[in-house]
C-alpha cells in the first residue's frame, strides 16, 4: 500500500472505531443475560425488526420511485412546487412526526373526540386504528424516510440518457413498459442507495419505537442497558444488530454484483417532459401530494398549533441560543463528513484494494447503529486519548490541559462523522459511479493530472450529489438526539435535546416550538437543495 492509501485506511478504521469496540464486546459473551434475553424477548425483537424492514422498504420504494418518476417525466399542474415539496418531510425528525400523529389520532386527540361527538359513542364502541403500534411505526417511517429514495432516484431519472429511453419508445414500448424495462433497471443503484439509507435509519430509530411501544432491537438495547443495567449485554445486542446490517448490505451488493451503471453523457439534452391532462394529471398530482400532506403538512400544522399555544417561548433568548448551536454544529459536521466521504469514495475508486474496501464499508455502517451505541463505543477510546494527553502534558509541562476530546464539541463531531458518513458516502459514491472510467482515461491521455481531473472533470459532475450529501447530513445532524445527549459539553443544548426533554416528560405542546424550529431551520437547506438541482437541470438543458 502506498502512503496515501495507508492514511486512507487509517482514517476509515478510525471512523469505524466505535463499531469495532461494539464488535469486540462479543469476545466476552455474557451467556447468562444473553440466554435470558434469547428465551424471553429476542425472538420478538427479530420478528418485529424484520416486519418493520420489509414494510418500510416496500413503502419507501413505492412512494419514492413513483413520485420521482412523475416529477422527472411529466408536466402536470403543480409539479414545480411538488418537486421540492416532496423533500420537506426530510426536515421532520421521525420521533417528532410520531408525537404529532399521536397528538392527533390518539383517543384523546381531536379526531377521535370529533367521532365520539358526532356519532355519540364512547371509547370501545367504534373501531379506530391504533397509531401507537407496529403499523403506526411503519406508517410514520414511510412518510418520513421516502425522500431519501425520491431524492436520489429523481436525480438518476433526470440524468438517464435520453437516447436509451427514446430508443425504447421508438421501438414501440409504451411509457409503462419503458419505465419497467429501461428506466427502472438503470435507476437501480440509486433506488438501492435510497432504500438502504431508509432501512438503516429504520434499524437505528429509537425515539419512534419507544414512543409507540414497539419492541425492536434498538429498544431492546436500551432496555438491557437502562433496565437491567448491563452495558455489556447492550453492546452485545448492538453487535447482533451490526451483523444484521452487514447481511443487509451484502444482499444489496450481491443483488447488483454484475451490474455497472455508467451514463454515456453523449447527449446533453434534458429529457422532454411530457404534458399530462385530465385524469392522468389528477392521478399524478394525487400521487405526489399524498406523501407531502402525510409527511409534512399534517405534522407541521400540528407543531404550528402547539407553538402558537406556547408562543412566549419565541421571545426567550435561550431559545435562540439553542437554534444557533444547532445550526453551526450541523454545518460544521456536514462539511467535515462530506469532505471525508469525498476523500474515501475517491480512494476506493482509485485504489480498490480489498482491505481498503472493507475498512470503508465498516466506516459506512454507523448509520444503522443507534446513536447511543456509537456514543458509548466512542466514550472509552476518547477518554483513553485524553488520559494519555493529560499524563504526557503533566509530565512534560506540569500542566493539566483537561479533557480535550471527551465532553467537547470534538466528541460530538466525531460521533456525527461516524453516524452520518454513510449518508454522504453513499450519495457521493452513487454520483461517482455514474462517471465512466473512460472519462478519466480520456482526460489523462489529453495530459491532465489527477488533480486537474478532479477539479475540471469530476467536481463539476459531482456538484449535485455533493450538495445533496451536505444537506442530508446537515438535516440529519440537526435531528440527531441520542449521541448528542451523551457526548455534549456542559450547558450545551440543541433543539433536538430540548424537544425530546419536553416530549419525554409528556409535555407535547412545550416540545412544539423547538421541534418547529428544527423543521424551519431544516427547510432552508431543503430549499437550497432543490434550487441547486433545478439550476443544474436548466444548465444542462442549454
Amino acid at each position: 500500500m502506498s502512503r496515501g492509501t495507508l492514511l486512507l485506511f487509517a482514517v476509515a478504521v478510525l471512523i469505524g472505531l466505535p463499531l469495532i469496540v461494539v464488535a469486540l464486546s462479543l469476545l466476552n459473551p455474557q451467556w447468562d443475560i444473553l440466554s435470558h434475553l434469547w428465551q424471553t424477548v429476542i425472538p420478538e425483537y427479530i420478528s418485529h425488526s424484520l416486519i418493520l424492514l420489509i414494510c418500510v422498504g416496500l413503502g419507501v420504494t413505492v412512494l419514492g420511485v413513483s413520485t420521482a418518476w412523475c416529477i422527472s417525466q411529466y408536466d402536470f399542474p403543480g409539479w414545480r412546487y411538488l418537486s421540492w415539496g416532496l423533500l420537506l418531510p426530510l426536515a421532520m425528525p421521525a420521533y417528532i412526526t410520531a408525537y404529532t400523529y399521536t397528538g392527533l389520532l390518539d383517543y384523546a386527540g381531536p379526531v377521535q373526540q370529533l367521532i365520539r361527538q358526532v356519532f355519540n359513542v364512547s371509547i370501545g364502541d367504534y373501531w379506530f386504528p391504533n397509531i401507537r403500534s407496529l403499523g403506526g411505526a411503519v406508517f410514520v417511517l414511510c412518510v418520513v424516510l421516502y425522500p431519501y429514495v425520491y431524492l436520489i432516484t429523481r436525480a438518476a431519472f433526470m440524468q438517464q440518457s435520453t437516447a436509451a429511453f427514446e430508443s425504447a419508445r421508438t421501438l414501440g414500448a409504451g411509457s409503462f413498459k419503458s419505465f419497467w424495462r429501461v428506466a427502472m433497471p438503470l435507476a437501480r443503484p440509486a433506488i438501492a442507495t435510497g432504500v438502504t439509507l431508509a432501512l438503516m435509519e429504520t434499524l437505528a430509530d429509537y425515539g419512534t419505537m419507544e414512543y409507540f411501544g414497539v419492541t425492536v432491537f434498538t429498544t431492546g438495547i436500551f432496555r438491557t442497558w437502562y433496565g437491567i443495567g448491563d452495558a455489556q449485554g447492550a453492546l452485545q445486542l448492538s453487535a447482533l444488530l451490526l451483523i444484521f446490517v452487514i447481511v443487509l448490505i451484502m444482499i444489496e451488493r450481491y443483488s447488483r454484483r454484475r451490474a455497472r451503471f455508467y451514463q454515456q453523457r453523449s447527449s446533453n439534452r434534458t429529457p422532454q417532459r411530457r404534458p399530462l391532462k385530465g385524469w392522468r394529471a389528477g392521478f399524478a398530482s394525487f400521487i405526489c401530494w399524498l406523501p407531502v400532506v402525510l409527511g409534512f403538512l399534517i405534522p407541521a400544522s400540528q407543531l404550528l398549533w402547539w407553538s402558537v399555544e406556547k408562543s412566549d417561548i419565541w421571545l426567550e433568548a435561550s431559545f435562540w441560543v439553542l437554534t444557533g448551536n444547532t445550526l453551526w454544529l450541523g454545518l460544521l459536521a456536514a462539511c467535515i463528513t462530506v469532505l471525508l466521504a469525498l476523500w474515501l469514495a475517491y480512494g476506493r475508486r482509485r485504489h480498490p484494494t480489498r482491505p481498503l474496501r472493507a475498512a470503508i464499508t465498516l466506516a459506512g455502517m454507523g448509520y444503522a447503529i443507534p446513536g447511543i451505541v456509537i456514543a458509548v463505543g466512542l466514550l472509552s477510546p476518547l477518554a483513553w486519548f485524553d488520559h494519555q494527553i493529560i499524563a504526557a502534558s503533566k509530565w512534560l509541562f506540569g500542566v493539566n490541559p483537561g479533557l480535550i476530546f471527551s465532553g467537547t464539541v470534538i466528541a460530538l463531531l466525531f460521533a456525527y462523522s461516524v453516524r452520518f458518513l454513510s449518508v454522504s458516502l453513499q450519495t457521493v459514491s452513487s454520483g461517482l459511479e455514474q462517471i465512466t472510467p473512460q472519462m478519466d482515461d480520456s482526460a489523462r491521455t489529453l495530459g491532465a493530472s489527477g488533480r486537474r481531473i478532479l477539479w475540471k472533470v469530476h467536481l463539476p459532475l459531482l456538484k449535485s450529489p455533493l450538495l445533496a450529501a451536505l444537506i442530508l447530513v446537515l438535516v440529519d445532524v440537526m435531528k440527531e438526539l441520542p449521541a448528542t445527549l451523551v457526548l455534549r459539553p456542559f450547558d450545551f443544548n440543541t433543539l433536538a435535546v430540548r424537544a425530546f426533554e419536553m416530549a419525554s416528560d409528556e409535555r407535547l405542546a412545550d416540545a412544539g416550538p423547538p421541534a418547529l424550529m428544527i423543521v424551519a431551520v431544516g427547510l432552508i437547506p431543503v430549499m437550497m437543495l432543490s434550487r441547486a438541482l433545478r439550476n443544474k437541470s436548466i444548465k444542462t438543458g442549454d
Binding site: R223, D230, V376, L379, H387
Partner: protein
C-alpha cells in the same frame, strides 16, 4: 499577512476566553438525569444566593454514569443527580460517589432516604399510587398492588412499559416484601389484566382512565399534579375525572421512590458541591420541589403545597432504597418472563 494577523488575534482571543473560563471563581459541575426544566430554576437560586456558578449537563442516568466512568479521575463532574433508587444504586456499584459528612444534610434527610455510607442523599419523594375512575370503580374494591392481579380487573388496567424505571423499582419492592416466586406469579396475572399493550408515559395512563380506555392506572403522583394544574383545558378536565387511591395502607404502605444526589469520587470542587447539596435539602428548596413538580419533600416538617394537601396523608413504604437497587435486575428478568413489555 493580514490574514495571518487576523488568525493570530482569533487564537489569542479564544485562548483568553478559555483561560478565563478555567480560572472562573467558584463553580460546581453537575451531571443530572433530572431534566433541565425541573432543576435549573433551583440551581439559579443557588447561584444568586452564593455566587457559585453551576454548570449543568442533563441526560439519561446510565449514559451519564458511563461517561463519568470513562472520564475517570479527569471528570469535570462534581455531582451526580438522578431520579430513581435503582439508578442511584448502580452509581454506588460503579464506585462513582465519595461520602459526604455534613451534620446539616444528615439531619435533613431521614436515614432510609440516603445510602448507607452517606454516598448519596434523597432530594424528593415520588409516590406511585393507583388511579381510578370513580364512575366505574368503587374504591372499596381496591386494596393493594397485589390485589390488581384479581380476575375482576381483567382488561381494565393501564400501566406503562417495563422499560420504565419506576415500574422496575415497584416490582423490586414487591420482590422484597413478598418474595420473587409470589411476585412472578402475581406479575403474570397482573399482565393478563392489562387493557392494552403498555405504551406512553404516566400521563397517558392517567388519560387512559379519564377517557375510558381502562378503569385503573398505576402512575406517579407528580404527573397527576401537572395535569390538574395544566394550561391545557383538556388535560385539566381529564385529570378531574380521576381519583387517587393509596394502596397497601394496611400492609407495607404505598410505594415511594426517590430522586437523589451525591458527590462524585473525583470531584474537584468538593466544598461548593457540599454547599449545593445543603442548599437543595434546605426548607426553601424542598418547598420549591413540591410546588414546581408536585413531589413530596424528603425533609420532615416542610409544608406541602396545596395540591399535595388535597391528596391527603398516606402511609409510605419505608423500605430501604438500596434494596430497590439490589432487586432491580431480578425485577426486569421477572417482568420479561411474565410478558410485561
Amino acid at each position: 499577512m493580514r490574514k495571518l494577523n487576523r488568525l493570530l488575534t482569533v487564537i489569542a482571543a479564544t485562548s483568553a476566553t478559555l483561560v478565563s473560563f478555567t480560572s472562573a471563581a467558584a463553580e460546581v459541575n453537575i451531571y443530572s438525569a433530572r431534566k433541565e426544566a425541573l432543576i435549573k430554576p433551583v440551581l439559579e437560586q443557588f447561584t444568586e444566593k452564593t455566587g457559585i456558578e453551576v454548570n449543568l449537563l442533563t441526560g439519561k442516568a446510565d449514559a451519564l454514569l458511563a461517561r463519568l466512568g470513562s472520564e475517570g479521575e479527569n471528570t469535570p463532574a462534581d455531582l451526580f443527580l438522578t431520579v430513581d433508587a435503582g439508578a442511584l444504586y448502580r452509581a454506588v456499584e460503579a464506585d462513582a460517589f465519595q461520602p459526604l459528612n455534613s451534620k446539616l444534610v444528615e439531619k435533613a434527610v431521614p436515614e432510609h432516604f440516603r445510602s448507607k455510607d452517606n454516598l448519596w442523599f434523597g432530594l424528593s419523594l415520588r409516590a406511585r399510587p393507583i388511579f381510578y375512575s370513580p364512575e366505574r370503580v368503587s374504591p372499596e374494591k381496591l386494596e393493594s398492588y397485589l390485589s390488581l392481579a384479581d380476575e375482576q380487573w381483567d382488561d381494565r388496567i393501564c400501566i406503562r412499559s417495563s422499560n420504565n424505571l419506576y415500574n422496575q423499582s415497584l416490582v423490586a419492592a414487591l420482590i422484597e416484601h413478598h418474595g420473587a416466586e409470589k411476585t412472578e406469579a402475581w406479575a403474570e396475572d397482573f399482565v393478563s389484566n392489562f387493557a392494552r399493550k403498555p405504551v406512553g408515559g404516566d400521563r397517558d395512563q392517567i388519560k387512559g382512565v379519564a377517557y375510558g380506555v381502562c378503569d385503573i392506572a398505576v402512575a406517579n403522583t407528580y404527573y397527576f399534579g401537572h395535569m390538574l394544574n395544566s394550561d391545557d383545558a383538556d388535560e385539566r378536565e381529564a385529570a378531574q375525572k380521576v381519583k387517587i387511591f393509596w394502596p397497601a395502607q394496611d400492609a407495607q404502605g404505598t410505594h415511594v421512590n426517590v430522586s437523589g444526589i451525591g458527590i462524585t469520587k473525583h470531584a474537584k470542587n468538593v466544598d461548593e458541591a457540599q454547599k449545593l447539596i445543603e442548599f437543595l435539602v434546605s426548607e426553601e428548596s424542598q418547598k420549591w420541589y413540591a410546588q414546581a413538580n408536585y413531589e413530596y419533600p424528603v425533609r420532615d416538617g416542610v409544608e406541602w403545597s396545596e395540591t399535595l394537601q388535597k391528596w391527603g396523608e398516606f402511609k409510605q413504604d419505608d423500605i430501604s432504597m438500596d434494596v430497590l437497587g439490589e432487586n432491580n435486575g431480578e425485577a426486569v428478568r421477572l417482568m420479561n418472563r411474565a410478558g410485561w413489555r
